[in-house]
Symmetry: C2
Subunit: 406 residues, 2 copies
């Protein structure tokens, strides 16, 4: 029996010819109602939150980062503890990424500052994300070979070598319900030739990841997703989707450091090709506009550090757009962060109290802000799900975005 | 009707001739079973914890700091919000200190580093505490007059002037159930002459605090405690206890920057004089040995930042003494922080996971560590209470301390 089962309950379809759908994803640690936002728990903790608080935000599933956990505390240590579920005391579904993204972004950045050159026009994805500039790529400490990548730890500079097999072995040790094939996530600033080369590498690595995974008993309890890459190039994106489709993956990731304007077309190209009956995860995306785009284009799962990172920094989501809760205007504000929100923070505390906590550098501010943002984003995707079921998705989208962008 | 009611249920007494007792302190926001440890919520938040987590630690009462809240967010702003209970969403009993301690330690320290000279032999008390060295006293920016103290904010250097009346007014605006008279907390390094002068000032200020308080309606809902000072001098301590006893306070604080070896004698001198029927709060004390000393010498309430400050730093209490959870020896340790502990942290997480969180600078480490430490200390005082009721206090003390000091 395969480790996961995905069933589609309803499709957006109709006159809109949209790819969106509502599904149920069954995993060994419970059910995920899709589309769903996946909370990011980089280092085996959703920053600042206890497992109960994560659950109270409506979270169904948590994604941890292979690269970080491989370095600290070490995947073998986690295995000795009976896996990530036990280690971090999260009993629901878990995912781990392949580590590829961080090997290239964090590993490459060892020993020098990430240049800002290429950063501005790109979306910020993933934890500790830095998009490589050309300068960096030239001077990079991550060496890409046909077999894998050697890189230096961003902690202590120690040398490491990750192959597709090694990535899967680490993820087997961590023991998440859904794991990802090892891939190379390129910058959209790279030229076509590099994108194509990198894509071929990602495809070879996907095949090797899959073969290694299938040869192990863990494939009975852990599902492997392949990652579609190809940057902003239509031809490459389609080639990648066709290639991944041809392999026996149990679901797919859609990766890439996107320029915002390229994202929708890339997702559409890919999802028109990927087999309908398998789940799709758009990696590292979580802003409200992008979630609507993803859902209507057939994405089932999203993850992003934005809600918790923004939450710690005091940037809070509201139905009227984001606010910086530190601003002086909120010092006297007796209202909740968002009048329409039912989260723990909004039910119990005023904007003025949160403003005070952030201005006083109190940890509770980051906790309450993360709770609010995570609830807000998780609940937004949940409402999209309900809207598809109610045949009111487009109306909901227009109403939400016109208020949000107001 | 007075705002609080204190009833003694049982005394330690007997052959030991100890002053310890078990009581019930009724406040407008609920009952405190004494002896009890008071959680410190300096800036209207027990650092890193939600009100529910504070309660789950067994906390019955929280003490916030007048000096900090006066500066940020401002006591008048808190008043507009309906007081501290509403502002911070803590529905149980609340206390505020007088601000005197911080005016002298933090206010005086504005613009330069607190010297370490006098620190080592002294206990660390209170939030953000620094004991003044002679050097500092000489160069202090806090100016003590007969009427009050002018000082500069440690935030922004702005000038402020606090009189006894002002301290009480601020505490009326904050609205805690139990408030304290304005006092001067001297360093044990000061000479006798200065101690005597400061004590006379504290006495005059206590009287003025009381007169101002009694003239206001708030005295119907807020109880005022006078603070006994006098440093390490028997004569001064006794004089102070006699003076405070003569006034119509509803309870007493015992203040001072104690050298560890002076504390027991000072507490005994004072509590032999203070009226038995009123509650006594030993300010800023919270290490296990000192809690036993205080309880057997008739202290009913304690507060200290040590549990939460240690918790954030990774120093955790166990029945076999304190441990630094960051240490490499705990990386593989599947056991809970303390095998005898029933706190949320110990019930759900291993030492190895906590070690990982602290080493990875994850906020959840500070939260889980604070929960454990707060539970440990609150529960220790609760067990002392039960031991007095069971006639087993001395046995419990010997057993606990022999293991703890092991």
């Amino acid at each position: 029996m395969p480790p996961i089962k995905f069933s589609i309950l309803k499709e957006l379809g109709g006159r809109t010819a949209k790819l969106g759908r509502v599904g149920i994803l069954e995993t060994p640690h419970g059910v995920i109602e899709t589309p769903a936002f996946v909370s990011v728990g980089t280092k085996a903790t959703v920053k600042a939150l206890t497992p109960e608080q994560i659950k109270d935000c409506g979270a169904q599933v948590v994604l941890a980062n292979t690269y970080h956990l491989y370095l600290e505390p070490g995947d073998e240590r986690v295995k000795k503890f009976g896996g990530l579920h036990k280690f971090m005391n999260w009993q629901g579904p878990l995912m781990t990424d392949s580590g590829g993204f961080q090997v290239f972004s964090l590993g490459a950045a060892y020993g020098k500052q990430i240049s800002k050159i290429a950063k501005t026009p790109l979306l910020m994805l993933g934890e500790g994300k830095g998009v490589r500039s050309e300068e960096e790529i030239a001077g990079s400490l991550a060496k890409i070979g046909q077999d894998g990548v050697s890189f230096r730890s961003h902690h202590d500079g120690s040398l490491h070598y990750i192959t597709p097999e090694k990535s899967i072995e680490i993820q087997h040790n961590l023991g998440a319900d859904i794991i990802f094939a090892f891939d190379e996530c390129t910058s959209p600033n790279e030229d076509y030739r590099y994108q194509e080369e990198a894509l071929e590498r990602t495809h070879r690595w996907a095949k090797r990841s899959l073969e290694f995974h299938k040869s192990k008993d863990n494939s009975k309890t852990q599902a492997l997703f392949g990652i579609v890459q190809g940057g902003r190039e239509k031809g490459l994106r389609k080639r990648s989707a066709e290639f991944m489709k041809s392999l026996d993956f149990e679901g797919f990731g859609i990766g890439g450091s996107f320029a915002k304007e390229d994202m929708e077309t890339a997702v559409k190209w890919v999802n028109e090709i990927l087999p309908k009956e398998k789940p799709r995860h758009l990696l590292g995306i979580g802003e409200p506009e992008d979630l609507f785009m993803g859902v209507e284009n057939g994405v089932d799962l999203f993850d992003c550090v934005a809600p918790t990172r923004n939450g710690r920094g005091g940037t809070l989501y509201t139905s009227r757009g984001k606010i910086n809760i530190r601003n002086a205007e909120f010092r006297e504000d007796t209202g909740s962060v968002d009048g329409d929100c039912g989260c723990y923070t909004c039910k119990n505390f005023s904007r003025a109290y949160l403003c005070h906590l952030y201005r006083s550098h109190e940890m509770l501010g980051g906790t309450l802000g993360s709770i609010h943002n995570l609830y807000f984003i998780i609940n937004l995707v949940k409402k999209m799900r309900e809207a598809i079921l109610d045949n009111s998705f487009t109306l909901f989208k227009i109403k939400f975005l016109s208020k949000y962008r107001n």
